[in-house]
């Protein structure tokens, strides 16, 4: 199994040989793909797994940390694949895959402190993983048993937000509060390339700049908003949007976990020290469909995907680890075993996830109660009981 096909198939790289992908990748790279980063793109680990330096951003991680990032990405991808499989089996109504975006999410997620706060979209399964959110929690809404429902304050990871862009304002407000509280915690808001067009996102930029709020705007430009390529949202690179609002923007190779981490750390450091917001555009690619309901063959070509497969975030780190003797067979086997355990737990957990009680419809509409809800709940309970009564009556 080669590095590329592994990435392409979205499977955990269990049988990967220590190939020499660098030259192969170069040889195969189609015209649209650039293996060397464009000058504006911050990169610390090339697609071929080679460490490079950048004048503004650097990182120095211990072997353990590097292995940790690798483990996070592999487990996240495995979880994602498992969820997609569960959707195909009818256990989930929908799944929004992060395939290809593991480095963007793990690199940024692992740059955060526990007291920082995350406002995700609906695709940040990797960030959730970094925050310690139980993966099962993420599946409730896709199964249809709740709309999210985890406690955001338990892991400082807000609920998934579906209305595009809304959460960037929540993040900004939260950051304003963190600032007023005199803490040095920061906030990170995830959003997509499509979301950049929403008024809310641009209003968030304005508020963040005006109040100098400690918020990082983390845009995963995965090149697509469902069927629309990024050119339908902007005619210049998205990171450039920030300057016009008065804060810095940077484009990072979103498939390079080291660069993402370095850039996010720098942004967080700025935020913590009162220097205000920053926009990070993680240049990446949505390897899969928008969601399991989507059919990307209608609007994009396979060769685009193939070109991006050569830049796979996991294989390049594996190559680096292998080349530098940082990952042996045992390490990889351990991750495989852990993946299997996690996948099993997720499968079983989902299948055993109880459907909500009918009357839960009326729960939590209000925190302090509401007469109409009480009345409707009572009437509906009575209506339902009438069937039970009738059934019981028949039974006699």
């Amino acid at each position: 199994m080669t590095v590329d096909s592994t990435a392409g198939a979205g499977k955990a790289p269990r049988a990967a040989k220590k190939a020499a992908p660098r030259t192969r990748a170069k040889a195969k790279a189609p015209r649209t793909a650039t293996t060397a980063a464009a000058p504006e793109l911050v990169q610390l680990l090339t697609p071929e797994g080679e460490r490079v330096e950048h004048p503004d951003y650097s990182i120095d991680l211990s072997p353990q940390e590097l292995r940790g990032l690798y483990r996070d990405m592999v487990l996240t991808r495995r979880f994602d694949g498992e969820a997609a499989a569960l959707q195909r089996q009818g256990e989930l109504g929908l799944w929004a895959s992060l395939l290809g975006q593991e480095a963007a999410q793990i690199g940024s997620g692992r740059a955060l402190r526990d007291d920082d706060y995350v406002f995700p979209t609906y695709r940040e399964h990797g960030v959730a993983w970094c925050r310690g959110v139980d993966p099962l929690n993420l599946l409730g809404m896709f199964r249809g048993v709740n709309h999210g429902g985890w406690d955001p304050n338990q892991n400082n990871f807000h609920l998934y937000t579906i209305v595009i862009g809304s959460q960037t304002l929540h993040a900004t407000g939260y950051a304003m509060g963190a600032q007023m509280d005199g803490t040095d915690s920061a906030v990170i808001a995830y959003f997509g390339d499509g979301a950049s067009s929403q008024g809310d996102v641009n209003e968030a930029f304005t508020f963040a700049a005006v109040y100098n709020a400690p918020v990082i705007f983390f845009c995963q430009n995965n090149q697509w908003a469902i069927s629309e390529p990024t050119e339908k949202q902007t005619r210049v690179p998205l990171y450039q949007r920030a300057a016009g609002f008065g804060f810095p923007g940077v484009r990072v190779d979103g498939n390079d976990v080291l660069a993402v981490m370095a850039v996010t750390r720098a942004a967080l450091e700025r935020a913590r020290t009162g220097q205000g917001p920053m926009l990070i555009e993680a240049f990446t690619y949505r390897m899969g469909a928008h969601t399991t309901s989507d059919d990307p063959t209608r609007y994009r070509h396979d060769d685009e995907r193939e070109a991006w497969a050569l830049k796979d975030p996991i294989s390049r780190l594996r190559t680096y680890l292998a080349d530098n003797g940082l990952a042996d067979e045992e390490f990889l086997a351990d991750i495989d075993a852990e993946s299997d355990r996690m996948a099993k737990r997720v499968r079983e957990g989902v299948r055993n996830m109880p459907d909500p009680e009918t009357l839960a419809i009326f729960d939590n509409v209000y925190a302090d109660g509401h007469a109409l809800v009480d009345e409707e709940r009572a009437a509906f309970a009575e209506y339902q009981a009438s069937f039970a009564d009738a059934a019981a009556g028949e039974g006699h």
């Binding site: 109504g93 929908l94 609906y122 409730g140 809404m141 896709f142 199964r143 249809g144 048993v145 709740n146 709309h147 579906i162 209305v163 595009i164 499509g194 979301a195 067009s197 929403q198 008024g199 809310d200 908003a225 469902i226 069927s227 629309e228 339908k232 949202q233 309901s293 989507d294 209608r298 609007y299 459907d355 909500p356 009918t358 839960a360 419809i361 009326f362 509409v365 509401h370 109409l372 809800v373 409707e376 509906f380 209506y383 009438s386 069937f387």
Partner: protein, 324 residues
């Protein structure tokens, strides 16, 4: 006469409109190559080009706002909002601009903009994909609001909406997209804002629209087995509502049940109950009963069957009304 599902009837209607009027445009997220997430615009960009079938940036206020500008320039934009729950970013443009501009100009400009919204539930979707926000629009002067319940109406009402010189909010019952029906592209259609009696009966009137018409017809069939004649009225238009047709039916039956998926509190049923209670004060033998969604956010999909008014819940109200 061709038998086709609602989604195809809509597609055919849009194609017809693009063919016959060069000023008609289609705008929205993913309406181009993808043909919309429900394929209502399937194949149209291929045949009419990117200038007539326009993939827009992901910004609903921008879509409606630019559609207004295009209408001012003489175009007739047909806007797609991807799902009911995503119309709200455009609410300001709809309520303060689209609805009011004709009056603001003392009639000197017209705003022939159609906003198509796949709405209502029953498709097992995640949050924001199953809502019924029609009352927000019907309460707004300056807008017209309609919703077809079958393929023929889907075809014709969309033709009529596009031909209207006023803004029309066009609600498409997404759970019924694959319901098939006969469509004649030759027939002379009913007026856009006329309600239609779709089942006759003398014991009780059951008013419904959009996705609930199918349920209402099932209710009538079930009641018929018990020897009760339910007259089903498909409202079709929610602004204006054809109260005359409804009144005539209620004067005959003496009883009215209204059903919709939207929450009951301040839903369409409230206006219908209020007005029919007034118009038919001496004819009503029972209060107007309403069966609809609850005063709660649309629930997670595993609860939607319980949340949505169904055969049993509507029958229960019918029984209660008849028992009065």
């Amino acid at each position: 006469m061709t038998r086709m599902p609602i989604v195809k009837a809509l597609n055919t209607s849009l194609r017809k409109a693009l063919e016959t009027d060069p000023k008609v445009l289609i705008m929205g997220e993913d309406v181009g190559k993808l043909g919309g997430v429900f394929r209502v615009t399937d194949g149209l960009q291929k045949d009419f080009g990117e200038d007539r079938v326009i993939d827009t940036p992901l910004a609903e206020s921008g879509i409606v706002g630019t559609a207004i500008g295009l209408a001012l320039r003489g175009y007739r934009p047909v806007v797609e909002i991807q799902f009911d729950g995503f119309v709200y970013p455009a609410y300001d443009q709809i309520v303060t601009q689209l609805a009011k501009m004709h009056a603001r100009a003392l009639g000197k400009v017209k705003l022939p903009v159609v906003i198509r919204i796949p709405y209502a539930g029953g498709i097992g979707a995640v949050e924001h994909h199953s809502e019924s926000p029609e009352a927000y629009f019907a309460h707004t002067a300056g807008l017209k609001v309609v919703t077809p319940a079958n393929a023929s109406d889907a075809y014709w009402m969309l033709q009529q909406a596009i031909a209207t010189d006023d803004p029309v909010i066009f609600f498409e019952p997404k759970a019924r997209y694959y319901d098939k029906g006969e469509v004649s592209t030759e027939a002379i259609p009913d007026p856009l804002h006329k309600a239609r009696v779709v089942a006759e009966g003398t014991d009780l009137t059951l008013a419904a629209y959009g996705p609930m018409v199918r349920v209402a017809l099932e209710v009538a069939a079930a009641a018929a087995e018990d020897g009760r004649g339910i007259e089903v009225v498909d409202l079709r238009s929610l602004s204006p509502v054809d109260f005359d047709t409804l009144q005539a039916s209620v004067e005959k039956t003496g009883r009215l049940v209204v059903t919709h998926e939207a929450p009951v509190f301040l839903g369409m049923g409230s206006e219908i109950a209020a007005r029919i209670s007034e118009r038919c004060f001496y004819h009503l033998e029972a209060p107007v009963l309403r069966v609809g969604g609850f005063h709660a956010p649309y629930p997670p999909s595993r609860l939607e069957d319980e949340y949505l008014p169904d055969l049993d819940r509507v029958l229960d109200a019918v029984d209660r009304a008849l028992a009065f």
